[in-house]
Symmetry: C2
Subunit: 232 residues, 2 copies
DNA sequence: CGCATGTTTGACTCGAATCAACCACAGTGG
DNA sequence: CCACTGTGGTTGATTCGAGTCAAACATGCG
């Protein structure tokens, strides 16, 4: 891989604390590849051959069943995906496709597992990463089971708003059909949910959303740190 | 703790491969306690003081938001819960209560984290356990997003049927209101879902369910190993 | 027996998916 | 410059799955 990218990868939490020699062994075994937009990287059910690290671009994780499809998560730089499958040497539970031109680091599963075995600090980092991923899914699951579509949208808007500086305006990071699928609703329903939020001071102009009445929106959304806070 | 219980705990995957001395250190620090039925052990939001191991009985994991409540999982012997919170030293995302008189091993979070740091084999076991928990939630999440209530019930019945020997009959492991909550529906709706499955050869008598036409039920349920198989 | 709990049924409401049409806009090519 | 087209988004009408509320029913237990 390009040596210019090394520091970037090394700075990822997952790779920060590991021994130099373990990092080297992984880097030597890994592949760097650039993919165009809308390329399917993996499909659910396939054996877990690689751990993927998104360096540039964006990847969507999604799944199929009974003829339906849903988005499960978006991975932005610098983030990994399909870690659990690789560690368990089990089939992927999700498919992945680029939603932008993306540069991706692919670490062979064998080499990753060897590195975990050899490097205590790396094992500790893996545990932290896995625990975080686990808690993220639990939060999504709680959100889906305990909230209506409008509530999920309201809380998602508050989250983006907070992440982007909280100055009353935010831009949606994905197109609306993707956001709808992430939130567990149809595009039509998302559109209606935005309309439902209008009386609470939410105005939409393309991908730009303005929140004119944070108090009202929060009263409706009832944000809950145990669902919405990505840090804990 | 009672020394009679040690082998049982030691035989749990999580504790099987660890060094004798690490196991001892954990056992020394741990508390053994018996709780009556319907006791709340932890509440979401509390700091993660203990890892819990169910030795006897059964524990329900559940969560609240916006005045609603939902079951997230049931833990049977020998199983652990709240592992991720303990490892991350973060607040619990779920509450837990006994649904039977239960004997429970409580391992102080500090001691558990110390054991993970000291014992490579234990760290590896923790990684496997965490990865399994992660994949279990992903499967639940996929089920909820991709299936209707009737489909979720049909697949759950097929799972219990398979687990219990697959002889055409199964007994529901929990009462119906709990099962309903686990499946993300109301008790009323579960009752109707059973009725919907009648034409597919499903008859219910209390907690006993008979599957008279497996082919028909499977055609409806479309079971999917990437959602329903608990082993992978 | 009387009471509590869990379950089922029925009527109704509500949230969400579906189907279809329409709109806005960007990119293309005449 | 303007029609043509494809895409993403919105709107409306309708259907459907699921929740709510209320009542009936079953079961088990003191």
């Amino acid at each position: 891989m390009r040596s210019a990218d090394l520091p970037e990868v090394r700075s990822l939490h997952l790779f920060q604390t590991m021994k130099e020699e373990t990092f080297d062994s992984i880097v030597k075994a890994a592949y760097f590849q650039t993919f165009p937009d809308h390329v399917v990287l993996i499909e659910e059910g396939e054996p877990a051959d690689f751990l993927y690290v998104v360096i540039e671009g964006r990847v969507e994780l999604f799944a199929h069943a009974n003829g339906r499809e849903t988005s499960l998560a978006m991975v932005s730089p610098i983030g990994t995906f399909i870690l659990a499958a690789v560690l368990k040497d089990a089939p992927y539970l999700m498919s992945a496709r680029t939603c932008q031109r993306s540069r991706i680091l692919m670490i062979p599963a064998e080499d990753l597992r060897a590195a975990v075995d050899q490097d205590k600090a790396f094992a500790a980092a893996i545990i932290r990463e896995l625990a975080s991923c686990y808690r993220a899914v639990v939060k999504d699951h709680k959100s889906l089971k305990l909230r209506t579509g409008v509530e999920r949208l309201a809380n998602r808007l508050l989250r983006y708003h907070h992440d982007q500086g909280g100055n009353g305006s935010l831009s949606l990071p994905y197109d609306k059909r993707t956001l709808a699928s992430l939130l567990g609703m149809t595009p039509e329903n998302l559109s209606r949910a935005f309309n439902t939020l209008k009386p609470y001071g939410v105005t939409v102009d393309g991908g730009t959303v303005r929140l004119h009445d944070l108090v009202a929106l929060e009263t409706l959304a009832k944000p809950n740190s145990l669902i919405d806070d990505r840090r804990i």
